[in-house]
Amino acid sequence: MSWSIIIGILSSGIRLATPYLYAAVGETIGQLSGVVNLGVDGVMLMGAYVAFFVALRTGSLSLGLIAAAGMGGVFGLIMAFISVTLKAEQGISGIGLYLFGLGLSTFLFGITIRNVQTIDGFPDLAIPGLSRIPVIGEIFFQHNILVYVAFALIPIAWFLLNKTPFGLKVRAVGQNPEAADSLGVNVARVRYLTVTLGGMLSGVAGASLSIALLNTFQQNLTNGMGFIAVALVYFGGWRPVLVFAGALLFSTVNALQIWLQVAGINVPSDVALMLPYIVTILVLAAMAKRRVNAPAALNKRFERGES
């Protein structure tokens, strides 16, 4: 394996981490407030479809991105309504949301676009100066704008969750909604905000696939990426920095897997494709015993006046 191959794998590892980062950071915020949204994959698909459709019809990538965030937000609102207002079981609601997004994106694609097309997505932006640094520059500083924003999201999320009153409220609501409620925090409002924000980020995650990384849309484009994003939240123990590390590890395994296939190394491609999913299960098994940070009210419904 020569240097250029290693650089290539690491560079595409960074690139491929993008959708996971958006979706997993959104999911982290939602889960910290006590709501598991398993429908991420369906929301990503809707975001990917809408971004692609709008970009294709208007020629504006930015409009596509905004539409994806908006669509993600709407799906987040649906999830919030079902899980917060109607207090439904979160796991099954999420699967319902997934099926809805999967079906609707396939349906709309079949009616409006019909066959697989490609567009010119967000171009790569070499950062002046930094991109000239040998090795480092090639790995980190020659990507499209959505990749950079995804990485900027990590410190932003960390700051938001750890250093602001809003972050404190989110954690309080996730750890002990009764106490937060008695201190005057509006539990439902906080959860609506986090789940909607999470939905918007999932929408952007989908857009990052359809108008920045793959530049196309087809049925089930994400192929389960959203579920892996949820797994990354557990993997990272609800800490943005560790979620980030997990996403990077995961996407690098993925990049390696793609390289194995391209290089024609004698691993059957289907077996190589299993790799990320097996790694996820193993990692979940290894991490599950040390769940110290889990929000105590995760996946539990909250009703005022109930002790």
């Binding site: 207090k87 699967i95 809805f100 389960g224 579920f227 059957p268 289907d270």
Partner: protein
């Protein structure tokens, strides 16, 4: 009093209302997209019920949903959310195919029996992996079963493109990823001269068996106790982890058997289009919808599967006749799940209401006794 009765009835009707609302939403979407929803649904209805063949196809489509749905009834009642129907169907089908192809000279009934057992076992193992991960490593079963779905599908792709590929495909050089046709002796008997096969009957009989298991046996009682209240089950000395794992094993077994029945009764070989949905037709997910729609009751899951089978079969007709993508029904299925789960709210409030009424009644009668 009448109003009270109506209110009591409402929660029971919610699944029906959910379907009606979903179809209404679908109609609005179709209208917005410039199609006549009335025409579309007419095509759907004809496609599902319009002829003996259509009706037979509806039942054939419903059969795997019922198998998966029965497993879901057990799992969800046991408090574990098995989303692994797809993977369990696939592993069951692979095992049944492999067995049937390796003993072509056995008598037909024996091949069928062994292949069905192999499918059941393979599904049980696939569900059991998630059960083991849950019991010993505290891994969230939703995530593990979803990951296992992908692993099963890639495993299937590998086998059908490699070791299990039809020798004829290799000889012809077309390399279609499918197995050879199973020995004809191993075809499940057809009920009437349509595609309708014995699988539907097996599924319905098993629905009764699941009812007996859940409500008439100690094991079933414990499974339901674990699902209702983990704390109560622990206090009663039930080994909760073991029963959660068991629920996943049983759920996997039913889905695996469903996969085996699909192969022996309908396709007579395995094939893949590379995706998860090519072979299963999303039955692993739609089985969840069927079980929820049947209120997690095995007997209720029978008509629920039938109705969903009708929607799915009709959707194919709608696609052919009106060029409306059949994925519309997939989206509506998701909506049905959201509505059914969301309406639990109504039911909980009803229960609370009756409970407080009952406790009031108990209090007054106690007072009366004291007096």
């Amino acid at each position: 009093m009448n109003q009270r009765k109506l209110l009591d009835l409402l929660p029971r009707l919610t699944p029906i209302l959910a379907v009606l609302i979903s179809l209404l939403v679908g109609a609005v979407m179709l209208a917005l997209l410039g199609t006549n929803p009335w025409e579309a649904y007419r095509a759907l209805f004809i496609g599902a019920f319009g002829s003996t063949n259509a009706l037979a196809d509806t039942i054939v489509k419903a059969t795997p949903l019922l198998f998966v749905g029965l497993g879901i009834c057990i799992a969800f009642r046991g408090g574990v959310l098995n989303i692994g129907g797809e993977g369990q169907l696939v592993t069951g089908a692979i095992a049944a195919t492999a067995i049937a192809l390796s003993v072509p000279n056995w008598p037909g009934w024996l091949i069928i029996l062994v292949a069905l057992l192999a499918g059941t076992l393979a599904g049980a193992i696939w569900g059991g992996i998630a059960g083991l991960l849950k019991a010993h490593f505290n891994v969230n079963e939703i995530l593990s079963t979803i990951m296992l779905n992908y692993i099963a599908v890639f495993g299937m792709n590998y086998l059908l493109r490699g070791p299990m590929m039809d020798p004829l495909q290799i000889k012809l050089g077309s390399f279609t990823p499918q197995t050879a046709r199973l020995p004809r002796a191993a075809d499940l008997p057809r009920l009437i001269p349509t595609r309708l096969h014995l699988g539907a009957v097996i599924a319905v009989i098993l629905a009764v068996a699941v009812y007996i298991l859940l409500w008439r046996t100690t094991i079933g009682f414990r499974i339901r106790t674990v699902g209702k209240s983990l704390r109560a089950a622990l206090a009663a000395g039930v080994r909760t982890k073991r029963y959660m794992a068991l629920s996943l094993v049983l759920a996997g077994a039913f889905a695996g058997l469903g996969g085996a029945v699909e192969v022996l009764g309908l396709h007579h070989r395995m094939f893949t289009d590379g995706s998860a949905f090519g072979f299963t037709g999303s039955a692993g997910f739609n089985g969840i919808v069927a079980a929820l729609f049947g209120q997690l009751h095995p007997i209720g899951t029978i008509p629920a599967s039938f109705l969903l089978g009708a929607l799915l079969t009709g959707a194919n007709k709608m696609q052919r006749m009106m060029q409306i993508p059949s994925a519309l029904i997939g989206a509506l299925n998701g909506l049905i799940v959201l509505l059914v789960v969301g309406s639990e709210f109504l039911r909980r409030h009803r229960i609370k209401h009756t409970q407080s009424a009952e406790s009031e009644r108990a209090e007054t009668s106690a007072e009366e006794e004291e007096a």
